[in-house]
Structures are given as structure tokens and as C-alpha cells.
């Protein structure tokens, strides 16, 4: 990839709504991405390899469990800081942000919210530094948008539980040390449990040949009569609401993250359009290109404020699942459209790895599907405003 010349747009001076510490955290993440992600990410994607040398740095900039209290080794930041870190990571690559999202919202969050004190002390500090990496198993081969239908199950054997079933499309699974897995007990109630690598009967085959999120590693979780010690069950909540609350946190991070990709695509296209001369003029001087760029910055700005407001509501503990769905759906769609338009502004150059746009565009095809598809989020909003469920 050519040199990272990124300059973040801030058309409506949103920086003035951020605290001094927010900006310090955001700028540190931004600098880190320039230094440690931009130079290596293109090659990692081309080779479809997760760059595991970045784990330590992700821990150092606070990307793992930003809001986890310091007594469990977390940075204890607010929700806006968490969002800003995700924005900067995804500006670099959605796969990098995915790795951090999973570790934070899907592994640390449930252990923090629903785990025992022993579980928190055992896992959270090591997850915060990246010494331990985790993954989250909800989706199954036959249950994607409808996770409540899951068939993965546990049986109470007296001293332990016996876990059977399979999970699919699991980010970080091929290298994760632990997996937070959701399974039904004999009563059909969904329980969360911590499965550790090395347990007998537990394997994590990798999913190959993805055209999207190539720098993030994805795989399956296969459980063949795995004995789970009773102390590995998350004791403080069960039912589908437990995994869904984790998704709320992750989706909120995605809402910020995709602003980062959109900004990167816009910034790249803007710079290119001023430098690229056709018909004796920079292409930025043509109305058609200006329309694209003007609409991009408009959409980015709208998304920034929607998401900032969502952050304030989350800080106050008032953000609803419906609001988070709306924001995730809006922002991913916005970023995807901007990536496609920005790619066209770069003409042929837009399809090469010299620029980040095509990579962002392909990554966003996963982001628009995982953590609730574009359609499902619309149904969530529809349900919220009409009181009628259109899922079934």
C-alpha cells in the first residue's frame, strides 16, 4: 500500500464535543494505526493471514475491553472513548476492528456482566492485555439470524456439563484461547459457558477462501462430548437476552467503526480527485465527482452525530436496542455506499491494493451481515415502532 496520508475529516467540528482525554485516546489510536496497521495490512489481507504481531499493541492502546473496570485490568473508559478507538481501528481495517470487538464486547463483556468474581479475576486481566484471546460462539450452521433456534446443548452430568454441537462463522476461533459459547440446557434455556482450548473433544477448524475480512481469522467451534467444569458456566444471566446484550455492545462499536472506514474512503477519494488530471483538469473540478464527494461528507457528518448521541445515551445507560440497531444499520450501509462510490472516483487505481478502498469495500460485505444483517436490523426497528414482530 502506498504511504498512509490519512487526514480525518471533521466538517461540523465534532471534536469540540469531545473531551481532552477523548481526543488523546483517539489520536493515540490513530497514530498507532498509521504506524502499526497501515504498513502491514494490505499484505496480511492478500495472504489472508491474521497479523498476530498486532495483538500486543491492541492491548496497549486500550482496544481490548475499553470500558472494563481497572480492578479487572481494563482501562475503565467511557463509551465515547470506546467508540473512538473502534473508529480508528476500522479506519485501518474492519478485520482488525473485528478482532478487538469480539475480544471486548463478546468475550470480556459477558464475563464482566454475567461471570463470577473468580471468572472475572481469572480471565479479564489477561484478556485486556491480549495475553489471552477469546472468541464468541452464537451462530450455528442452521441458525444465523435466528440464534434462538440453536441446537448446541449442555447436559448436566452431576460434576460437570457435557457440551455437544457446532458453531460457525466464529471470528478469532482458529487461535482463540477461550470461547464464550451459548448452548441450551435440558430445559431449552440458553446458558453462557467458557470453553478453553485443549479441552478434550473441542476443535476449531478454520474457514478458508473468504473474499472479505481476510486479515481476521474465522472458523468453526466443534464440540464432541466436551466436559465443561461447572465453574465455567456464566452464573448471573441466562436466556437469549444474555448474548443479545453482548451484541448491543459490539454493534455500538461497529457503528463507530464504520464511520472510520467511510472517512478513510472519503479522504482517499478526495485527495486522489484533486491530484488526478483528466481533460486538462483535476477530476475534482467535475460536477459528477463533486456530487459524490459532497454526498459522502454529508452522510459521514450525519452518521457522526447520530453515533455521538448514541454514545451519550450509552454513557447514561439509556440507549435502547432499537437505537443501536438503527445506528449500526445506517452506518454500515453509509460506509458501504461510500466505499463503492469512492472506488469509482479512483478509476482503475481503485481496484488495486495501492489504496485501501477496495479492501474496505469487501470487508464491509461481512460487516453488513454479521451482528445482525441489514434486513434484520430493519425488522428490529419495525418491531420497535409498530409493536408488531415481522420476523416470523
Amino acid at each position: 500500500m502506498s504511504q498512509d496520508l490519512y487526514q480525518a475529516p471533521d466538517y461540523f467540528l465534532m471534536d469540540e464535543l469531545l473531551s481532552e482525554e477523548h481526543k488523546l485516546i483517539r489520536d493515540a489510536a490513530r497514530e498507532w494505526v498509521k504506524k502499526d496497521i497501515s504498513p502491514i495490512i494490505e499484505e496480511a489481507c492478500q495472504k489472508a493471514e491474521f497479523p498476530n504481531q498486532i495483538i500486543k499493541g491492541l492491548g496497549e492502546i486500550g482496544a481490548f475491553g475499553p470500558y472494563i473496570p481497572s480492578k479487572y485490568g481494563g482501562p475503565e473508559l467511557d463509551q465515547i472513548s470506546y467508540g473512538l478507538i473502534m473508529q480508528e481501528l476500522e479506519r485501518g481495517d474492519s478485520g482488525v476492528r473485528s478482532t478487538a470487538s469480539v475480544q471486548s464486547s463478546l468475550v470480556m463483556y459477558p464475563i464482566w456482566k454475567y461471570g463470577s468474581e473468580e471468572q472475572k479475576n481469572k480471565y479479564l486481566p489477561k484478556l485486556a492485555t491480549g495475553e489471552l484471546m477469546g472468541c464468541f460462539g452464537l451462530t450455528e450452521p442452521d441458525h444465523g439470524s435466528n440464534p434462538g433456534g440453536m441446537t448446541t446443548n449442555i447436559k448436566d452430568m452431576g460434576d460437570y456439563y457435557l457440551l455437544n454441537g457446532a458453531k460457525m462463522w466464529i471470528s478469532n476461533s482458529p487461535f482463540a484461547d477461550i470461547a464464550v459459547v451459548w448452548a441450551k440446557n435440558e430445559d431449552g434455556r440458553i446458558k453462557g459457558l467458557i470453553v478453553e482450548r485443549g479441552m478434550d473433544g473441542f476443535t476449531t477448524p478454520e474457514t478458508h477462501n473468504k473474499w472479505s475480512l481476510r486479515a481476521s481469522s474465522t472458523g468453526e467451534l466443534v464440540f464432541d462430548n466436551v466436559k465443561i467444569p461447572k465453574e465455567n458456566i456464566l452464573p448471573h444471566r441466562d436466556g437469549l437476552g444474555a448474548p443479545l446484550s453482548c451484541l448491543d455492545s459490539a454493534r455500538y462499536g461497529i457503528a463507530w467503526g464504520t464511520i472510520g472506514t467511510a472517512m478513510d474512503c472519503y479522504d482517499t477519494a478526495l485527495r486522489y480527485s484533486k491530484e488526478r488530471i483528466q481533460f486538462g483538469k483535476p477530476i475534482a473540478s467535475f460536477q459528477l465527482q463533486q456530487k459524490k464527494l459532497a454526498e459522502m461528507i454529508t452522510e459521514i457528518t450525519k452518521a457522526q452525530f447520530l453515533t455521538w448521541r448514541l454514545g451519550v445515551l450509552r454513557n447514561e445507560g439509556r440507549a435502547t436496542t432499537g437505537q443501536i440497531s438503527m445506528c449500526k444499520r445506517n452506518n454500515v450501509d453509509m460506509a458501504l455506499k461510500i466505499a463503492r462510490e469512492a472506488r469509482q472516483i479512483l478509476g482503475g487505481m481503485g481496484i488495486t491494493g495501492e489504496y485501501s478502498i477496495m479492501r474496505h469495500m469487501m470487508n464491509l460485505e461481512s460487516v453488513v451481515t454479521y451482528e445482525g444483517t441489514h434486513d434484520i436490523h430493519l425488522l428490529i426497528t419495525g418491531h420497535d415502532i409498530t409493536g408488531e414482530s415481522a420476523f416470523k
Binding site: 487526514q7 482525554e21 481526543k23 488523546l24 485516546i25 493515540a28 497514530e31 492502546i61 486500550g62 481497572s70
Partner: protein, 248 residues
Amino acid sequence: MNIVVCISSVPDTTAKINFVDNDSKFDENGVQFVINPYDEFGLTKAILLKEKHGGKIIAITVGEQKVEPVIRKALAIGADEAIRINHTPKDSYTTAYHIAEYLKSNSYDLIITGRESIDYNGGAVGGMVAEFLSLPFINACNGLNFSDGIAQITREIDGGKEKLSAKLPLIIGGQKGLVQESELRIPNMRGIMQARTKPLSIIEPSNIETLSTSVKFEKPAEKGACKLVSSDNVGELVSLLQNEAKVI
């Protein structure tokens, strides 16, 4: 070793430069401020020295409250405490005066400034502080080590290098080479969290007059359009250079 690092808050290198008030004042609207890059080399050197020899790093800046993000960043990167002298820096003399006044009643072994700040390029503060405190000043340093408590310094001179040695206390003006760019530190989360509780003292300055005042700033002339002359038309090129560009 107590190391004092002078930090100045300057516009980011990518900032658009404009002036207001009849071109007498820099327009700060929408401009991002960063640690002066030369000072950042100095701060990083101080951190490396502290890691090797122990001691304390004090970051000092002269500026209004709005420069605090920059000094807070210095704390997050590794300074132990920070001093802000609450004064709008208008010329090198007042800035140096205030720094020296603070240092007169505080202990230090080494003072590091940047060789210049990248905004006004004065390059005078270090030398003036040295004069106020009767200390040696070595500018444009691109290497600093200690052997037996004596500073061994290299500095850049036109077309070459000079090696010097000096006793502490001492003031140096640093630049790239003092540390490498790859050694510069990004504040990590632990640093940012610690910076919340590190002391940042605000000192009210004594009232002194500036000795010089900026009257007008002028930007370099806009780059003219580029004219292409075909390679088999040397005559036209010479004539353009002579008559239009008037450079030969």
C-alpha cells in the same frame, strides 16, 4: 537525574496556514495542535535517559489553558509532572524569561529544548534560558550520552558533525538523531490513565514586557502553473526563462 523538557504547542504539520488581523496573527481556527516535533525528540530522549539512569522528567510549557492537551500528552507519553506558565507566548524573550524564572527556584540537571519550534522557527528560547541561568547551551544536538556524569554530545554543523563534552547542569537543543523517529512513543492506555493523576501545576507569570512584536506575516507566493516545453524546442525554453520568468 532531573530532566526538564520544554514543550511548545505548535500547529500540526498538515495544518492550513492563514493569518488574521491584517496578517499580524496566526489564524488558529480549525487548526490541530501537536507537541513541537523537535521537543518530542527531546521528550523521548528524556524518557530513555530516565529508563537508564533513573530520575524525574518535568515537562514545562508557556501558554494559555488551551495548550493543556499537548502537555497532558507529554504526561501520557512519560513525563512525571508538568508545569504550565499561564502566559500567551509572544516572543522568545518572555517565554525564556518565564521558564528561567521557574527554574531558578527548582532543581534540574539537564534542560532539553527543541532546536526550534516549527511554527515561528525562532530557535532562541534555549539560548536565552541558558543566558538567564548562566548555563552552557548546545544547539542542534543529534546525539547525547553520559559517561562518568559528563555529557557526550554530537551536534550537526554545516556539512559535518561536532563532538563535544559538557558538565551538568546543561541546556541542549535537540533534533532528530537525539532519538530516531522509530523510537518516538505513542501514548499507551496505561500512560493515558496515569496522566489523569500526574501533577500539572499552573504558575502565574510575573509581569514583563515583550521585547519584540510581530507586525505582519507573509505567505510564500503561490506556486505558479507549470508550463511544459517540448524537448526539441530549447529556444522557446530559453526565451521563456529569460523574458517571462526572468531568471536568466
